[in-house]
């Protein structure tokens, strides 16, 4: 048992040991990579220095078993001190494991208020990968020196800043009142005692000036405090690199591969909590790249690549986001194998066309897909990618993947810069002001009265009133309203709301425990003016509403070229087709339409018959005569309704002929859909 007077030192010991473990791990891994004995010697000197300090601290605090363990490690490493030989991998593993167990032992002892766990070092707990208590505290910079800042005081400081903001709002109100008072006095000057009024006016003037100065002073101090707080909240990416480097080394060694981690942008500072979460997600990305991307040395040699694969992590700020790229120079993704696997697992409907590269990569994030890929050891990726997507989603971000067969794969994570503020879409429904995380909003559009489903990129989505979903009103209704398309994980859903106020940066407040049971509410957003808006949980909404798979819905928007010499008709066609989810480009005559079709292609052509320069029949014949365009569906629209007119259209090669009378009955849209789907 630790003597009571030494208990306060245990926390610091745990933190220092975690830092030492991190440094030992990084130095040992690096020592296995360098070729120069002198470099290796320096790295070993660092390792032994840390172990020696850890041994001394352990003994001083009464961790006798730990002291012996570290002494044993020093003895084991002594023959390699001069750097002539690399430390064998099993010994590196032993050192790292013992250090992890040591951290776990100290943490367990802290939890037991100074009583040693009976199990001892080896079974004190799961290895902690060296992060230990470092995750709960962190380093901030103060005058070039490192200081430790606990998360609790940080949160208290955060709360103080918020209180200051409230004071500022109050002061601003007071200043406004003083201003009104002064104005009221000015207005009544004529009807009262001039001397008394003059005195009052001077008082009001002084009050207003004083308050205005106070507000300015407070605002300045508040900004300074917020800047300081922001600095304290962030850590450079550097701080997680050693743990990732170690993870790369351990995993590559375990599967018989050689992989080097390269990091660009390690100086980028990120919110501490974001960084901690990011580390977990990146560990999955790194392991996935080693397992399925980077080839074994023999395969790399055969492919004329260096034996040692490279995993390159790039961190960079882009506006309000941080973008993390994880690029490997492995074999990339075998899209044919992914497609075959997706068909086997029923992820692609029978007879469906082969997915695009984007869709095939997206399939790898499907939960459950990865397991099959792993079991059958095909070249498809996927292990843990669903976990990465879930992590990114929880952080309010997104993840995508691209690859080039034979050359490598890139995973791109886009995350908000800070977890303290998020972008929300502010809306009103059933007299409640509510918010949705903007990252979950795929789009918003107008829903005319009577419409139950809306077309979103070719996918029909059932509209549900948001008020009904969250228990504030009727569960169904088709009145005219704004509808919001939400994306959660791999699903889409659509809700109608009364009003959308727009986007807003909001400070996020956790909900108190008594509100934890309200499943639709995830947090509260402080809107900066004293108001709160509850942030709805896209996950809970998706669980309650009718959703459609994102892969199916996210297919490319079908492109339609509309040719008509009447601007009104062009506008009507555009409006109706775009509302149905098509991408529309218009041309004022047949010649222009042909130019557009040749330049940018299309999935369908809608054309008037009578047009200057090149009419609809001529345009259709030109399309049928063009090697690239001849398969394009063409719908001719005309007010001409005789059999001869229809026959001429058919002879020219039109796929369908719709009269303007039929158009008014919705025939055009149905025809377009049937031709595009066919």
């Amino acid at each position: 048992m630790i003597p009571p007077e030494l208990l306060p030192a245990l926390g610091a010991f745990a933190e220092e040991l975690a830092e030492q473990a991190q440094s030992v791990g990084a130095s040992l891994v690096e020592s296995g990579r360098v070729a120069e004995p002198e470099q290796r010697k320096k790295l070993l000197a660092t390792v032994l220095r840390h172990l020696h300090t850890a041994k001394g601290n352990s003994g001083g605090l009464g961790f006798k078993q730990l002291e012996e363990e570290f002494h044993g490690l020093e003895t084991d490493l002594a023959p390699f001190r001069q750097g002539q030989r690399a430390v064998p991998e099993p010994l590196v593993q032993k050192v790292l494991t013992r250090l992890d167990a040591g951290i776990a032992l100290v943490k367990a002892t802290i939890a037991r208020k100074g009583v040693f766990p009976e199990e001892g070092v080896a079974a004190a707990g799961e290895p902690s990968s060296g992060e230990g208590l470092v995750g709960a505290v962190g380093d901030g910079q103060a005058g070039g020196q490192t200081i430790r800042v606990g998360l609790a005081p940080l949160a208290a400081l955060d709360a103080k800043v918020e209180e200051l903001k409230e004071v500022r709002v109050t002061l601003e109100r007071r200043a406004a009142e003083a201003r009104r008072l002064r104005a009221a006095l000015e207005a009544t000057t004529a009807s009262a005692d001039p001397a008394a009024l003059s005195s009052l006016r001077a008082l009001a003037e002084g009050l207003h000036r004083g308050l205005a100065a106070d507000v300015t002073e407070l605002a300045g101090r508040l900004t300074e405090a917020e800047d300081e707080l922001r600095t304290l909240r962030t850590l450079p990416v550097d701080s997680i690199v050693p743990a990732l480097d170690r993870s790369v080394w351990e995993h590559a060694t375990a599967v018989g591969k050689k992989v080097r981690l390269r990091v660009t942008g390690a100086g980028v500072a990120l919110d501490r909590r974001l960084l901690e979460e990011l580390k977990g997600a990146l560990t999955h990305v790194v392991r996935n790249a080693i397992d399925h991307g980077i080839e074994a040395p023999a395969a790399r040699r055969a492919a004329n690549k260096r034996e040692e694969g490279e995993l390159h992590l790039v961190f960079e700020h882009r506006g309000r986001e941080v973008v993390v790229l994880a690029e490997d120079d492995g074999r990339g993704v075998d899209l044919a194998a992914v497609t075959a696997r997706a068909r086997e697992r029923g992820l692609l409907p029978p007879g469906a066309p082969a997915p695009t590269a984007e869709q095939a990569h997206e399939l790898l994030f499907t939960p459950g897909f990865s397991t099959a890929a792993q079991l059958t050891t095909t070249s498809g990726r996927g292990v843990g990618l669903d976990v990465v997507r879930e992590s990114a989603s929880q952080l309010g971000g997104r993840v995508t993947m691209t690859s080039v067969w034979g050359l490598g794969t890139r995973v791109q994570l886009e995350l908000p810069l800070t977890l303290a503020t998020v972008q929300v879409l502010l809306l009103e429904t059933a007299d409640h002001t509510l918010a949705l995380p903007l990252v979950a909003v795929a789009g918003a559009l107008y829903r005319p009265e009577g419409v139950e489903r809306i077309d979103w990129n070719g996918q029909l989505l059932q509209v549900r009133p948001l008020a009904g979903l969250v228990g504030l009103g009727a569960e169904s209704g088709t009145s005219a309203s704004t509808v919001i398309v939400l994306r959660h994980a791999d699903r889409l859903l659509c809700v109608s709301v009364d009003r959308v106020f727009g986007e807003r940066d909001a400070l996020i407040r956790p909900l108190p425990p008594e509100l934890a049971g309200l499943r639709y509410l995830s947090s509260a957003a402080s809107l900066g003016d004293g108001r709160l808006a509850f942030v709805l949980s896209p996950r809970a909404l998706a669980a309650a509403a009718e959703t459609v798979p994102l892969v199916q819905a996210a297919r490319r928007r079908r492109r339609v070229v509309v040719a008509d010499d009447s601007i009104t008709t062009r506008m009507i066609h555009r409006q109706s087709l775009e509302a149905a989810g098509f991408e529309v480009e218009t041309a004022f005559d047949g010649a222009e339409a042909l130019r557009l079709l040749k330049a940018r292609g299309a999935d369908l052509l809608v054309s008037d018959v009578r047009m200057p320069r090149l009419d609809g029949l001529g345009l259709t014949r030109a399309v049928r005569g063009d090697a690239q365009l001849r398969g394009l569906p063409v719908v001719l629209v005309s007010s001409l309704d005789s059999d001869d007119d229809r026959r001429r259209a058919t002879d020219a090669g039109a796929s369908a002929y719709v009269t303007k009378q039929e158009y008014e009955k919705g025939v055009l849209l149905a025809t377009v859909r049937s031709l595009v789907d066919a």
Binding site: K160, H432, G471, L518, Y520
Partner: protein, 166 residues
């Protein structure tokens, strides 16, 4: 308030009005406020602060006792209307312009009040409250000619199903 409860309060007030010269007088520190036209109080040790109701946000799907939430010291604070807890006639939110923040263990609540009378030192012995229609009330105190219902945060939390408070 029921007739039975009125009777209990009157009886307690009579008891409190009598001093026999033998009973030890205790000084109790209370934070007193008015709710439903009645004086009520929490012991000062349970009170974390007070505030004016500004920008109340109703809670979608929230329980009936929960009037809404406000921001208080950088946190989300649930506001409870004792009139609802006591099934007494409801007062409009506009009448309840302030709240008292009480805490018990990890839980905090803002208790709405029509008027905040503030900190009071009462030199009297508190008498146990025997009524059953005022969940949260445990004692009755005398303040001048009025009687004060003394609540504990823990009992209020328990009355609202937040019974895991210590």
């Amino acid at each position: 308030m029921t007739d039975a409860s009125e009777q209990i309060l009157k009886r307690r007030a009579e008891v409190l009005a009598v001093t026999d010269g033998l009973t030890q007088v205790v000084v109790t520190e209370l934070v007193v406020f008015r709710v439903g036209g009645q004086l009520a109080a929490f012991r000062a040790s349970e009170v974390e602060g007070a505030g004016r109701v500004r920008e109340l946000a109703p809670v979608p799907g929230g329980p009936a006792w929960l009037t809404g939430v406000v921001q208080s010291r950088g946190r989300v604070l649930s506001l409870v209307d004792l009139n609802r807890v006591w099934s007494a006639p409801r007062r409009g939110v506009a009448d309840q312009t302030s709240y008292v923040v009480v805490a018990s263990g990890p839980l905090r609540l803002g208790v709405l009040s029509e008027e905040l009378l503030g900190f009071q030192e009462i030199e009297t012995t508190l008498v146990p409250f025997e009524g059953t229609d005022r969940p949260g009330v445990i004692e009755v105190a005398r303040l001048g000619a009025d009687h004060v219902l003394v609540l504990t945060a823990r009992r209020v939390f328990q009355a609202r199903g937040l019974g895991d408070a210590p």
